[in-house]
Symmetry: C2
Subunit: 212 residues, 2 copies
């Protein structure tokens, strides 16, 4: 990653993603959370981020807060802008992966094609699609930001899951049924995936006497 083939001098001084994995003791990747509004993407991304931080792992959350108000503040919400929004988030994720971090993204990203483009951009195996699966009725019940209410009142016209499509992932690496699992169970499932696939090598402490 990030290598420049024709410049020996540059080569001499470069630090590759592999160099970073070796010195960090873990491999970088993107945990790409996708799902309806209020399905738990942001909550879980931040919870996992916090847990990884405590474990001494450098990780970072990309979400609406730091992307839509910064890098992508020039973009609107028409189809072309939405696609460009996801493209740039994919490119930034790739830079973070190259820099050795575990990135968590929290965007609805409703279109399969857009998510596949990001998957193709990232080196094989380092794109981990995490589907926060939750019935729209449950998301609407939660409605922490009152968005569904504004959709129902007609204030917001086009909204994923109500009046615009959400294309479910076909083969996501991880499915979190957030109406059936609590936050801790979701975190554990993500950490299990990272450990089983050798991104991180920590031995988890047992959570109870008879629990692994």
């Amino acid at each position: 990653m990030g290598k420049k083939e024709n410049n020996l001098y540059w080569h001499k001084h470069s630090v590759s993603a592999e160099d970073r994995w070796e010195s960090n003791g873990y491999k970088s990747c993107v945990l790409w959370m996708t799902g309806l509004s209020a399905s738990g993407k942001s909550t879980l991304a931040n919870a996992v981020n916090k847990r990884l931080h405590v474990m001494g792992i450098n990780s970072y959350v990309l979400d609406g807060d730091n992307i839509r108000h910064g890098l992508n503040k020039d973009l609107g919400f028409n189809p072309e802008s939405r696609r460009e929004n996801i493209r740039r988030i994919g490119e930034v994720s790739k830079l973070f992966i190259d820099a050795g971090l575990i990135v968590l993204t929290a965007f609805i990203s409703p279109y399969r094609e857009d998510r596949e483009q990001v998957r193709n951009l990232i080196n094989s195996g380092h794109f981990i699609e995490v589907y926060t699966k939750c019935p729209v009725s449950e998301c609407e019940k939660r409605d922490p930001k009152g968005i569904y209410k504004r959709v129902r009142s007609g204030e917001i016209k086009e909204f994923t899951g109500i009046s615009a499509p959400y294309e479910e992932p076909e083969n996501p690496e991880i499915i979190l049924e957030t109406d059936k699992m609590n936050v801790d169970e979701c975190i554990e499932k993500i950490l299990d995936y990272l450990i089983d696939n050798k991104f991180i090598h920590f031995i988890k402490r047992p959570r109870g006497v008879f629990v692994k």
Copy 2:
């Protein structure tokens, strides 16, 4: 940085830049290299990056290789695109700083106004302007990529320092006269700045008996 004021749940799980500084043992910042083509920006950015890596510090280089072919591949070279190019690099640097890394950027960035906009975007004191000062005659003599030759032959019309302006920094934090200093001296000057300004706290090993 990156805090969301109205959402208690999010707050509970967030990891701030300050949290990362404390656990990492160093503070993040951007070393914004600016200067003519072939003045040494990329060589020095990569050399410092390598040195920081060896010191156990997470750092990353943003340069034409990983930005122009990725995030900014949709941008051309007209004035508006050049400004947007720098804006996005500034926003990505801000994300990396928030994530706790020391970022090094290697772009000519010839306009004072563009650089000032990035400075204003980054939290006070964490934007470090590094001017790789070198006479254009010396840069042209080096010409590692043969670009100056293509400018002189008329193949490239508009080029910074020859047929387009380079606006020198007025008060850069660091000036590296790359026609007078060698690579090691430049690296030391940058590390001295980071130590003196408490970004990093390492005690450098003496390079000779009587050297500090």
